[in-house]
Amino acid sequence: MNMPSKERKQSIETERDVLLEVTDLKKYFILDSGWFNRKKEYLKAVDGVSFHLEKGETLGIVGESGCGKSTTGNLIMNILEPTEGSILFNGKNLSKISKEELREERQHIQMIFQDPYSSLNPRLKVFDIIAEPLISHNLFKGEELKEKVQELIETVGLRKDQLNRYPHEFSGGQRQRIGIARALALNPKLIICDEPVSALDVSVQSQILNLLARLQKEYNLTYIFIAHGLPAVKHVSDRIAVMYLGKIVEIATKEQIFSRPLHPYTEGLLAAIPIPDPTLRKRGNRNVLEGDLPSAVNPPSGCSFHTRCQYATQLCKNETPKLLEFEKGHSVSCHYPIVNSKGILVKESVVN
């Protein structure tokens, strides 16, 4: 309700053209330890994530299962409430506004889900699925609604006559298209794609990615693209954030990440990309990651990656590195960033 400050913030944001600003976002889940256990344990799903997103760009968020990337998506979507930190969307702090205001604001942020089988209600016809957001926000009625829904389904490459069918009559790729049509219905500014293609056949994956790219141009959309591997976001992202155990360990442009990874974890992720040509496979000196993601309940001390890092030293065990800008637009949270694929930078640590 404090209009002056809101307006002020908005004017600042429009100058920089920043659509979304996430600052020190944290989400701790309290673990249910029973009635008699006094000690509370927390699962630190997201532990201090900050980034910003400019209008029209695509940010890829990459990391292993359990690193908090989907939780970050859900926090931005306001399906989950953040423990700490703020999410400024268009200058508005989404976790501070009233329920009704938030419902209105949801028009501008939409989500595409990973599993096209569970993201569509099996008991509704495609028409009702795509019409739901329009009805919820009371935007169209009667004939107009029908026309709008028909337009939407054709935008995503399905036919009008398929509106009268149920989701189970469609393939995975078609279902994902329906999900995209639903997300598009409200003309959003930001779409969070939570692994939108990982449940699909390889041949269909590229179709969906192309569709998303086309829609981005047509509707001037901003994407957050969540995926578990680098190849999936390579073609769609402008910038990529690599997450590990609830933290962003490296964030940079796509080119920088692929040509000059600074964090050993990013290097590991790059090494994990399969090389289609078997003759090239043996030559590369590949540092494939070993071990599993440590528990987010008791994260390792210092740098959370030190348990799996081949370059780790005593410093890494003791001190948590901060996310610092190493070169323009390229931030990394590592005491010993890599400079080339042969070894580590032999110089004073960034912290010292």
Binding site: I79, S119, F127
Partner: protein, 305 residues
């Protein structure tokens, strides 16, 4: 602050008039295809008609006592009379007439008590599962405490205090049976709530009420219907037990359970008194279960071919 007043269902019906016609066609198609469903429907229809026109259909006065006709066996046994087709009971009353008249009360008790139980259980289950937290805890502890009370004892006390009667009987059976539904519905809601389409609905800005009625309820309804049809049987049998204990349907009124329990003492000499109302209960319950199976299929769009 309330901006949109228009109901979702109205809008959808406006925009798609062919929608309803389709579903009626589909229902009929499924009914003809599924033989059990058809059998179930026929049984339920016949029983309902018998229940409605019981007075006209009964060949004799069901309460007319005739000392000359005590414990007559059914017509096809030695000593049986064709007029009293299913025989007579220990007071010489015509068994067929009694069963026909009893249909009404048994059906009313079975259907009404489960309707009440289902309604209460459904609402509590939905609220409890959807909102969680304190509300959930409160209702589930209430359910636990209801489960801890022995059903029959609870019913006996209530019926003892308020006096036996049709309405009290229905209410008391409803009050003990809702627990099953509350737990069932809550469990289903908890699992459906986590599915992506509910999450999607939230992100779309759909209101809670619409989410519950449009997304959660339709997905809960199929298991709900299956359990309710089975429970109608339980309710009819509960009515029988209570009638036997003297706290159910009172003598001038007739129910299947009452006849069944009344014949218990004569099982060795006149087995038919208990057997035929038992068969009536079995057939009716089977019919309802078959019908329930078909209904479940109708409500699941994935099962159309």
């Amino acid at each position: 602050m309330q901006i949109n007043k228009i109901e979702v269902s109205e809008l959808v019906e406006d925009s798609l008039p062919e929608y309803k016609k389709n579903s009626v066609n589909r229902m009929l198609k499924l009914l003809i295809k599924s033989k059990t469903g058809l059998i179930g429907l026929v049984i339920v229809l016949i029983v309902t008609i018998i229940g409605i026109f019981a007075e006209q259909l009964a060949p004799f006065d069901p309460n007319a006592i005739n000392p000359m006709l005590i414990n007559k066996p059914p017509a096809w046994l030695e000593g049986g009379e064709f007029a009293h087709f299913l025989g007579t009971d220990n007071l010489g009353r015509d068994l067929l007439s009694r069963i026909i008249i009893g249909t009404k009360v048994s059906l009313i008790v079975g259907v009404c008590s489960i309707a009440i139980a289902g309604f209460i259980g459904m609402i509590i289950g939905l609220v409890s599962g959807f909102y969680g937290g304190f509300i959930d805890n409160f209702f589930m502890r209430l359910v636990d405490s209801f489960l801890a009370i022995p059903n029959i004892l609870f019913m006996l006390v209530v019926l003892g205090v308020f006096g036996p009667g049709l309405l009290t009987l229905i209410l008391v059976i409803g009050a003990t049976q809702w627990v099953t539904y509350a737990r069932l519905v809550r469990g289903e809601v908890l699992s459906i709530k986590e599915r992506d389409f509910v999450k999607a609905s939230r992100t779309l800005g759909t209101k809670d009420r619409t989410i519950v009625f449009k997304h959660i309820l339709p997905n809960v309804i199929s298991s709900f219907i299956v359990v309710s049809t089975l429970s109608i049987a339980t309710a009819i049998l509960l009515e029988a037990s209570l009638s036997y204990l003297g706290l159910g349907i009172q003598p001038p009124m007739i129910s299947w359970g009452g006849i069944l329990e009344g014949g218990r003492n004569f099982l060795a000499t006149a087995w038919w008194i208990s057997t035929f109302p038992g068969i009536a209960i079995t057939i009716t319950v089977l019919g309802i279960i078959f019908l329930g199976d078909w209904l479940r299929d109708v409500l699941d769009p994935r099962l159309t071919k």
